[in-house]
Structures are given as structure tokens and as C-alpha cells.
């Protein structure tokens, strides 16, 4: 058990995966000699060599394509997309090739590719370097989506993703890189598709990931002082999604709030709300609340960007609204 930042936990996850299995290698832009744009891979090239930490040209299609081909030969590539937004540059490789190759060939190939994507707003990077893009892939069967929100989950999900025989997109939130937390590298491997109950409560089920999870914890503490007991759930992976844990919680609280860092349409939050309404309507004492970012691109100016994404107070208010509505 050690105290690590989210950044260090991701790096340790990769280092341990590289050390555990010779078939694991890293591939991406400036991840080797430069140590990565966010210094996540710093030092790994010295530890594991340039054959296993591959610096590429600025060619996202080639990065993902090369990872696909290598994975079919039994290697376990960990490919980095420096900013998650760049998934748009290689969208075809991700959704038409990586996701479907196994299916279209009737299971003749297996693609144990991990794609790391640096997600999220809050850094003033503007509209093309600040998105949380996991929703782009929600409607693409064949991909698994991991969204760690703590150093411990970052480590565990990294190890699980690399070990998994399917393609996993691992979203790392850049606003969490300096977050500290205890990481136990000796725990049993985390299974993808297991939500974490971050906090137990009795009045409202609140679902959130990454930065929204951190803010939801603050909101829950505030609400506790007001006599509202929040059960906070972090799905940790959006595909597979642990609806069982969410539904079981709603069965106890009878209220659902989802907070997410993205516009509402076609989002994982709207899927959860729709799922609970369709499958578990009778459990609800009132309408679920979906708290999202604005349906605009991410703005640059500090006040605009801060207003774009829900803060702890807006999450707390959403919970109060759900109580009032019931």
C-alpha cells in the first residue's frame, strides 16, 4: 500500500504490466524520450527500452492501426492518444476496425489493445483539448470503456485493461493527475464491470465518474449536514456497466441523480436514467435527475469553463431537487 498521485498510479500500472508480460509495449506520440505530454510515461523508456516504449510520428491512425495488427499477433499494445479529443482523428480505426475486427471474422482474431485517452475539462485547453469523449464510443459494441476516478482505480483498471483480451479504452482525467490516494498493488485483479459504492446512504442514489465523482463526494458531505443521506456510486467502467449495483441502490433509496461531465444527449448518464426508468420504474419515488455539462463546446475563459461543468454545489442542488420532487 503506497500513497500515489493518479499520474503515478497510471505510470505504475503500465510499469507493472510491462514488467509482468514481455508482450506488453507502449506506443504513442512523445511517450518515450519526452516522457509524455503529461509526464505520465516519464522514465519508462529508460526502464524498458525503446523497443517497448515506441515514439511515433503524429499519426493517430497509424498508432491505433499498428496496435491492432500487433495485438492480433499476440502482443498487448498500450496505445496513447495524447488528448482524448484526438480520437476523432482515428475514429475509423477505433470504431470500424478495432471494435469490429473480431466480430466480422467470426472470432478468428482477438484484440487485446488498451487505448489510453486523456480526457476532461478544467485546464483551459479550449474546445479541442478538453472533452470527455467516452460517449462517442457508447454505441459501439466491441469496445470496453474504463473511467477511473481515483489513483487506486487508475492502477487497477490499467492492469485489468492490459490483461483483458478485448479492446479497452481507458480514459484518464487530466484534472485528476495530481490527486493523491492510497494504491494497493497487491490486491486481486479488478474485474471490469464492477461499480464502486463510494459512500453508503439511504435517501438518494448519486452516480458519478472521475471529476464529477470527486465533486459528488463534496456534495454528499454537505448534504449529510443537511440531513440528506447520499449513496454515491462510481461505475468505474461504462462498458460493461454494472447496472445491478445501481439498481440495487435505487431499490433502497428510491431516488436517482446522475452527474456527468458532458452534454446530456446520447450520454452514459442518459442511458442509466433510461435504463432505470424502463426496467425499475416502480422503484422510483420521483423523476430521476440528470445533471450534465452544457450542450455547447467547452469554452476557454476561466469563468465560462467553470460554468460549463457542474460543481459540487450544483450537484448538491440536483440532489435536493430530487428530494423535493418526490
Amino acid at each position: 500500500m503506497s500513497e500515489l498521485t493518479y499520474r503515478e498510479a497510471i505510470k505504475l500500472g503500465m510499469a507493472d504490466a510491462l514488467a509482468a508480460d514481455d508482450s506488453v509495449f507502449l506506443i504513442g506520440e512523445d511517450i518515450g524520450a519526452a516522457g509524455g505530454a503529461f509526464k505520465i510515461t516519464e522514465g519508462l523508456i529508460d526502464q524498458f527500452g525503446a523497443e517497448r516504449v515506441l515514439d511515433t510520428p503524429i499519426s493517430e491512425q497509424a498508432i491505433i492501426g499498428a496496435a491492432i495488427g500487433a495485438s492480433i499477433r499476440g502482443l498487448r499494445p498500450v496505445a496513447e492518444l495524447m488528448f482524448a479529443d484526438f480520437a476523432g482523428v482515428c475514429f475509423d480505426q477505433l470504431v470500424n476496425q478495432l471494435a469490429k475486427y473480431r466480430y466480422m471474422t467470426g472470432g478468428q482474431v482477438t484484440l487485446p489493445v488498451t487505448v489510453r485517452l486523456v480526457n476532461g475539462a478544467g485546464g483551459g485547453f479550449g474546445a479541442q483539448h478538453s472533452q470527455s469523449v467516452e460517449n462517442w464510443f457508447l454505441n459501439v459494441p466491441g469496445l470496453k470503456l474504463a473511467v477511473p476516478g481515483t489513483p487506486a482505480d487508475a492502477y487497477a483498471l490499467m492492469r485489468a485493461a492490459v490483461r483483458d483480451d478485448d479492446p479497452v479504452l481507458l480514459f484518464e482525467h487530466k484534472a485528476l493527475f495530481n490527486m493523491k490516494g492510497s494504491v494497493d498493488t497487491a490486491v486481486a485483479p479488478l474485474e471490469l464491470g464492477r461499480a464502486a459504492t463510494v459512500r453508503s446512504g439511504t435517501d438518494v442514489t448519486l452516480v458519478a465518474t472521475q471529476v464529477m465523482r470527486v465533486r459528488a463526494e463534496e456534495a454528499a458531505a454537505t448534504l449529510d449536514g443537511e440531513g440528506i443521506s447520499v449513496e454515491l456510486i462510481d461505475p468505474r467502467t461504462l462498458v460493461p456497466l454494472d447496472m445491478e449495483t445501481i439498481t440495487a441502490s435505487v431499490a433502497r433509496t428510491n431516488r436517482l441523480v446522475v452527474a456527468q461531465e458532458c452534454p446530456p444527449n446520447g450520454s452514459w448518464g442518459s442511458s442509466i436514467v433510461a435504463g432505470v426508468i424502463a426496467e425499475s420504474f416502480d422503484l422510483l419515488d420521483g423523476p430521476p435527475v440528470l445533471l450534465s455539462a452544457d450542450a455547447t463546446p467547452v469554452p476557454y475563459a476561466g469563468p465560462l469553463e467553470r460554468a460549463w461543468v457542474p460543481d459540487a454545489e450544483r450537484i448538491a442542488q440536483a440532489v435536493r431537487d430530487s428530494m423535493d420532487a418526490a
Partner: protein, 329 residues
């Protein structure tokens, strides 16, 4: 090199490249495509289909130097390439017919024929998308220290899509054992090359990547075999990628709905006169192969295609539950 044709031996690559084997494979592909056209006309083939009739020499010549441990990746006009690697005729028919016994269990179809057991690692229906993937197979070979190579076929239309550039560049900068085989059939879908591409000698594209670029007569199976063979040897020897431009012509339109009327009749006639199969039969005759051996090869191919099709037609549809399989491992 044996003169004998190894018809459907246990090893799909046995005798690949022997003269009568080259002829047999080209004949089988030609007859296969003609059957597919007929099946289409009978509404037994779904969606669209893209025949490679006229381009058989490129597929057969370029695959001849490959081993089953290599990786061949091709396009949606890939029936010929997959058969050239040695995919069984019956299961290839079955895949296009959407049968359970198809190469991909009926989930791929005409545009996604794949048989990894013979080194045919997929047919890709997004133009250029498989070129970066081919570099990944090259990277894996280098990583594992094997002398396997990857070879990707693509059309002249692919040279203007971004994935082409990224793959060529990556293969060159890393000296990957990847062979890029461009089947220049002069038309990207319906558009003549001159209207889409400023440099008409596509092999020159290789200069921009400091990669050897070779133009070859794609209707001469032996010429293709020799040029690709050299490229494969270079790749196995660690000397990096090669770009091969094979000039050829599709006898049919782009896809089933395209009669190809945008092509001048004189041009079509000139290329039909250069049909790679009779041309190779003449070469074999000139080299002293008895006419009856050539005729016997043709007869064997004809009956093989007919028998395999009959078997494929009798196979059942996939069970409905099969659609849920192979989404995840």
C-alpha cells in the same frame, strides 16, 4: 520448382508459385467470380459485391511468395487475394452466401473474407484502413524477432486517403517488413485516375517516403511474383518496406450496380485483349507445357469450383444466436 499443380492439398501454400499452380489459382478465382455474379443475379448474395475479374494475376502473383505465417490484408475487392492465399473455395462461397460454414460464420460477407489459418488476415471495406493495420503485423514480427512479413493490397483510390500516408510513413521510418501492393486499375470507383490524382505513375509516391517504388505489369503473373518476391526477400532481410504498383484492369464495373459505362470501349477492348489468364497460358505453351496439361488444369478448376459451390449451397444458415457471439472475447 515443380510443374505440377497441387490442387487443394492439405497445405494451402504447398507449391504456391509453381507454374501450373499459378494458372490453377487464377482460373479458380476467375470461375469463382463468375459464379458469384450468377449467384448475385439469383439474389443469393446480399448487399454488394466487388469482383476482381481481370485482376487475378496481381492476387496470385503477389501471394505466391508468402507463407501462411505471413499476414495478407486486402480490400473489399478481395475474393481473389483470399483464395490466392489458399482459403477453401467452399467456405469462401459459403461466407458470401451467408452460411454457418462460411469462413467467418456468415458474419463477414463478401467484403470481409478472412481465413487466418492460411495467413489471410482480413478484407477491409473502409478504403485504406488496413494499411496502418498491416504495419502492426510488421511491427509484431520485428518485436518477436521473426522473419514474417505483412502484405497489403489496395486500389489506386487508396493513395489519396490519410491512412495510406500514415502507414507508408510509419513503415518507412521504422523499416517495417511490410509490402504495399497497389492494384492500379485506373479507376477509383467511377472516377478515372487522372481526375483524382496528379501523379499518374503511383510508384513515384514511394519517393516521398524514401521507400523503393516499383511499377509492374499487373496482368503478368510472373512479373508480379518476381517483383513482390524481391520485396518480400528485402522485408525478411530487415531492409524495410516496398511499394509495388501493379497496373491492371477490372473487367467489370466497380460493384454489382455499375456497368462501367464511363470507360471508353477501346480501352476496355484493349485490356480484355490483355486478359492475364490466356496470356499466361500462351507463356506456358511457349515454354513447352503440353496443351493437354493446361486443358487439364482448366478442367480441374472448373469441376473444383462447381463441386465446392454445390457443397456451399447445401450448408445451413447460421443459427440466430450466433449473432451474439464474438462481440467480445
Amino acid at each position: 520448382m515443380s510443374l505440377e499443380s497441387a490442387s487443394h492439398s492439405a497445405d494451402a501454400r504447398a507449391d504456391a508459385g509453381a507454374p501450373l499452380d499459378l494458372l490453377r489459382r487464377m482460373l479458380e478465382i476467375r470461375l469463382f467470380e463468375e459464379e458469384i455474379q450468377r449467384l448475385f443475379n439469383r439474389n443469393l448474395v446480399r448487399g454488394s459485391t466487388h469482383l476482381c475479374t481481370g485482376q487475378e494475376a496481381v492476387a496470385v502473383g503477389a501471394c505466391a511468395p508468402l507463407r501462411t505465417t505471413d499476414a495478407m490484408l486486402c480490400t473489399y475487392r478481395g475474393h481473389g487475394a483470399v483464395l490466392a492465399m489458399g482459403a477453401p473455395l467452399d467456405r469462401t462461397f459459403a461466407e458470401i452466401l451467408g452460411k454457418a460454414e462460411g469462413l467467418c460464420g456468415g458474419k463477414g460477407g463478401s467484403m470481409h473474407l478472412t481465413d487466418v489459418s492460411v495467413g489471410a488476415y482480413g478484407s477491409f471495406a473502409i478504403v485504406g484502413a488496413h494499411l496502418p493495420i498491416a504495419t502492426g503485423f510488421g511491427l509484431a514480427a520485428r518485436y518477436a524477432g521473426t522473419d514474417a512479413v505483412s502484405l497489403c493490397f489496395f486500389g489506386d483510390g487508396s493513395v489519396n486517403i490519410g491512412a495510406f500516408h500514415e502507414a507508408m510513413n510509419l513503415a518507412a521510418i521504422w523499416k517495417l517488413p511490410t509490402i504495399f501492393v497497389c492494384e492500379n486499375n485506373l479507376y477509383g470507383e467511377y472516377s478515372p485516375l487522372a481526375t483524382t490524382t496528379p501523379v499518374h505513375e503511383l510508384a513515384r509516391r514511394a519517393e516521398g517516403y524514401a521507400m523503393p517504388g516499383v511499377r509492374v505489369d499487373g496482368n503478368d503473373v510472373r512479373a508480379v511474383q518476381a517483383v513482390v518476391g524481391e520485396a518480400v526477400d528485402r522485408a525478411r532481410g530487415g531492409e524495410g518496406p516496398t511499394f509495388v504498383e501493379a497496373l491492371t484492369y477490372r473487367h467489370k464495373g466497380h460493384s454489382r450496380t455499375d456497368p462501367g459505362t464511363y470507360r471508353p470501349q477501346e480501352e476496355v477492348d484493349a485490356w480484355l485483349a490483355r486478359d492475364p489468364i490466356p496470356a499466361f497460358e500462351r507463356v506456358l505453351g511457349d515454354e513447352g507445357v503440353p496443351a493437354e496439361r493446361i486443358e487439364a488444369t482448366r478442367t480441374a478448376a472448373t469441376s473444383a469450383v462447381a463441386e465446392h459451390l454445390e457443397r456451399a449451397l447445401a450448408w445451413p444458415d447460421p443459427p440466430l444466436a450466433a449473432r451474439f457471439e464474438h462481440v467480445y472475447a
